[in-house]
Symmetry: C2
Subunit: 205 residues, 2 copies
């Protein structure tokens, strides 16, 4: 085990490499990215990248985990909120991103969606995305189940509903990024309300 | 105008180049593709590619239009079918692809989704996709409007509904390809039925 001081230094360094990777990816895109582009975004010598990571592929996998962690960690929901309120909060966070200053939700999502599509050729990235997708989907499925238990939602296949909402969010983000439909998240929010969540409420009769 | 014989030859040649491009893209992916890879997939000399297309970018734009045309042209719907039947047929075609032998729906969709995500960096491809997306979305929106006029669907924002269904289909295909969820189209079909279309039917009371 490394002494506490060293461990902190290493964490800071890795964070600096991750942020440099993010800036380099935003500029050059995944397929054209070279290790030296990442080095150009850092104040430290680029030897530290090679010290910490075993090539571009290793670095990219770690980077994917890094942005997924930021994304998931950003969802803050009151555990005592009513199910519909929690559902709304989770959908909003995934659609619009956290309101952190400098978080750059859409810049990060641009990289995220590029790596997502690229995962069709990449077993390791596919696994990282699958784990992440499962967590996002489950968090929505669980709220639907809570609502059913509390009698505020009607009985549905909660996993199927969770998957549908997760897919719709993903598509709206992808469409904004790929096709430039800037109103896609807002419009999708309304569609989810009107066409999906509306039918979820338990019939009061 | 070229004499009829020549025109046919040229169309055949372009078709041969398009199919060679498709095979090369399936093997190498978009970002790694070189013109010579396409030449390797052809029986003709690769000079004909340079004769017909002004570089990789021009060829890729034309190829994108080619697979979109195949995709859209494959949707055959009886214009006198009841709205719900037509809606089902359109959703099925987009989700599962046409049943042409050798069409290779998923191989083509793999390329389609790769180019779609890449369009975030490419104004011309973005425009081609936007036109295509608009046609797909409108075809669904129009069926919803027909159903409303005939009184079998309740009054909704038909364009919003058309967009939602288009997004859900796109997400399901993308998830199957990127994450290997082979049951995504079938599961999504059920989710569309249960959670979106069910609420579309006009209340018989």
């Amino acid at each position: 085990m490394s002494p506490p001081g060293e461990e902190t230094a290493s964490t800071d360094t890795q964070e600096a490499i991750m942020e440099a990777t993010f800036r380099a990816l935003s500029k050059h895109g995944y397929s054209e990215l070279r290790m030296r582009d990442i080095g150009d975004e850092m104040e430290m010598t680029r030897q530290v990248i090679h010290y910490h990571f075993d090539g571009k592929y290793d670095l990219m996998s770690r980077f994917l985990e890094y942005i997924i962690q930021q994304y998931e960690g950003s969802v803050e929901v009151d555990p005592d909120a009513p199910p519909r309120e929690e559902l709304d909060a989770r959908i909003d966070q995934c659609l619009f991103g956290p309101e952190f200053e400098d978080f750059g939700h859409w810049d990060r999502m641009k990289v995220y969606h590029e790596l997502f599509t690229h995962a069709q050729n990449d077993e390791q990235h596919r696994e990282i995305f699958n784990d992440h997708y499962e967590r996002i989907r489950s968090s929505i499925t669980e709220v639907v189940e809570d609502g059913m238990e509390q009698g505020v939602f009607r009985e549905v296949d909660a996993a199927r509903m969770g998957q549908l909402i997760t897919d719709v969010i993903h598509a709206a983000r992808g469409r904004k990024l790929a096709l430039g439909h800037d109103d896609a998240p807002q419009e999708t929010r309304k569609a989810i309300d009107e066409f999906i969540l509306e039918s979820l409420h338990a019939d009061p009769r």
